[in-house]
Amino acid sequence: MGLGGGALLALGGVGLSFWPSRLREPSGPLLCLSPLEFSVVAAACEAVVPGYDGMPCPLELRVPEQVDAYFALLHEGDQADFKSALGLLENGFAGLLLDGRPRPFTVCTVEQRQETLEAWRGSVIALRRTAFRALHKAIVGVYYAQPELYSHMGYSIPAGLASGGAR
């Protein structure tokens, strides 16, 4: 991912934040992420795909847990890169310096989180753009794969086709 360089800043900055992070409770044991990292993913899920117009909320579908499971199966180096990105995102100190956002990501409102993520998407700092892309791909890739969403998107897998059923 090329995100390793952000690890130091992430670690250093969290301790300097004026607000404590908001921790979310996973539905089961975490496989890869720490409780704080899981909470950042959960907060990002709510911002990227809040579940409008009756679409299920990503937390109901346990999308953060599935993102955790996805990264648990990747190389340890990929896991470390992703964790660094989450640390940077949560970092209130860096947010204050670069975005004027003193609060940790997890305690921001959904709208503030959306603004933060959009700022990262177009940031002049390449590391942030890369981190955004990794986080966004993981979240939308898990969320929109959920069969519970198919009908909301006008999509369905033709009956009888899966697993060679048509022949």
Partner: protein, 515 residues
């Protein structure tokens, strides 16, 4: 004598194997090569890091198909995350999940390789019988624009309306059900992928295929490969099970593809001339979604059946591109987006009305275009770097403008670019806005489904890795037969080129072993 396909889970003890030829990889190159060599009576062992799956395993759910059938659980990307790399990983390699589009290698490309890269003798006449052979075996035949799905019809109708070239592609299918799920593993075995064709041919002639087995390195002593060292992987998590596989062969062939192949050589410290991993080409892809009054349902129907090569040849100094369509199952569709919140929701809510055209940059031909680089990180992970040059950015811009014109000509009510700040067009007059949008890495999603190069073929050992007979310049019994040997990209989908090259290579390698 019939061979066998082993599952990694059935291998509980270390394996010490001997054979005539050990082939690493079972995709478009490895499978055709294995079948050709086995047919000539050679004892063949194939090592494949992916699993062995059949249509019964293909449930058409993206949540399970991508982790099962794609490299890095479908998370492969360039180091900066700017380019998503779609690359297969199973017995059959990318042919298990490709979209079946087949082209012979353009004669102009072969002539360019001869003139600029010293690839002598590899011409259309030499390859013709090999193309004929693979086309028969894989049932590669023209599709028809009359049964193209609505997404592909946009490309055909729009191009015709503008007076641009577009034609139905040829596809390697038999009794295709037009399901649209080529990218998730064909559920009805209509796609003539390697797993149900050449791999089966090889096994029928005695080849032993070991799935879930990753080749870690080739051990070279005194200028020859002495042994291939591999490990059995747990299919669930891709971690080594602790069971080792060692293969001693008269000849070893890397058919591991244009990213993992160079990585294997680098892990094996086989990069004396420093060329391994260089000149990696991707046919970098930009997509352009559009929305229509009537449903497109781009998730159904043959995903890719029309192509336009109107802009492959452009003005001097400009990178060419060709245009096709892409399937639109939800996760693949959203992969072309960086939207957040309401905008993301709006896009996916309108999925049935969305069509997407793609343009593929023809990289590797302009002076100074060296493409990307495959290398190894300090922790052993493979790394792919690919800079979006000014030439490629200009290509993307021109491609977006061309695709927007096609979509509008075909009746799109809204064209919406994939930029971080999407540009919206409703009429031709809006094209100027699109032309002013930024193009480059992380300005908009970029993809690749065609990985080529990295172990380039050529006659000069100082600028290439293998000679025109697929033999490594320095190691007498090491060959490379896959897309990594291509000195440039192709300007057409690469699978049939790799099939034909492998068919050609099987004769050369068998002859070499008979000496």
């Amino acid at each position: 004598m019939s061979g066998v396909i082993h599952h990694g889970r059935d291998l509980s003890e270390d394996q010490d194997l001997t054979c005539d030829v050990c082939i690493i990889g079972s995709g478009a190159g490895g499978a055709v090569l294995a079948a050709g060599l086995a047919k000539q009576g050679l004892d063949v062992v194939v090592l494949e890091e992916g699993g062995w799956f059949t249509k019964k395993d293909f449930n058409l759910e993206e949540a399970s198909a991508y982790p099962m059938l794609y490299q890095d659980r479908a998370g492969r990307a360039t180091a900066d995350q700017a380019i998503t790399v779609l690359q297969g990983r199973s017995v059959g390699g990318s042919t298990t999940v490709n979209w079946t589009t087949c082209f012979r290698t353009p004669d102009k490309v072969l002539r360019h390789w001869a003139a600029e890269h010293g690839v002598e003798g590899l011409n259309s006449e030499l390859l013709a019988p090999h193309f004929d052979s693979v086309e028969r075996r894989l049932n590669i035949e023209p599709w028809s624009e009359r049964i193209a799905n609505a997404n592909n019809r946009v490309l055909y109708d729009g191009c015709k309306s503008l007076g641009w070239e577009a034609q139905a592609t040829r596809r390697n299918v038999k009794e295709c059900g037009n399901t649209g799920y080529c990218g998730l593993g064909c559920p009805i075995d209509a796609k003539q992928a390697m797993g149900i064709t050449y791999v089966q041919d090889a096994v029928a002639d005695g080849a032993r295929v070991f799935s879930d087995v990753r080749a870690d390195r080739v051990v070279v002593r005194e200028g020859r490969v002495e042994e291939v060292q591999a490990r059995v992987l747990n299919r669930e998590n891709s971690r080594p099970t602790g069971v080792a596989v060692r293969v001693r062969a008269k000849a070893v062939v890397s058919s591991a593809g244009a990213i993992n192949g160079p990585a294997l050589l680098l892990r094996s410290d086989l990069n004396a001339n420093g060329r391994v991993g260089l000149r990696t080409f991707l046919h970098p892809v930009v997509a352009l979604p559009a929305y229509y009054e009537d449903p497109i349902e781009g998730f159904y129907g043959a995903p890719q059946s029309i192509s336009s090569h109107e802009f492959v040849e452009r003005a001097a100094g400009q990178m060419g591109f060709f245009m096709e369509a892409a399937p639109l199952q939800p996760v693949l569709a959203v992969g072309g987006s960086t939207l957040v919140g309401p905008a993301q929701h709006e896009m996916m809510r309108n999925l049935p009305y969305m069509g997407v055209l793609i343009a593929l940059g023809v990289d590797g031909f302009l002076p100074g275009d060296e493409g990307g680089v495959v290398s190894l990180r300090s922790d052993g992970r493979v790394r792919l770097d690919y800079s979006v040059s000014e030439d490629l950015a200009e290509c993307f811009r021109s491609a977006h403008l061309a695709m927007a014109r096609i979509e509008l000509a075909a009746g799109a009510k809204l064209v919406q670019s994939t930029h971080n700040q999407p540009v919206k067009l409703r009429k031709e007059a809006d094209l100027e806005t699109l032309g002013l949008a930024p193009y480059g890495a992380l300005e908009h999603p970029i993809f690749t489904a065609h990985q080529m190069g990295g172990c380039a073929m050529g006659s000069d050992p100082s600028t290439s890795v293998v000679d025109p007979a697929f033999r490594h310049h320095d190691i007498g019994n090491l060959f490379i037969v896959d897309g990594s040997v291509l000195p440039t990209s192709l300007g057409v989908n690469p699978s049939e080129t790799i099939y034909a090259l492998a068919s050609h290579a099987s004769g050369l390698i068998a002859k070499e072993l008979a000496r």
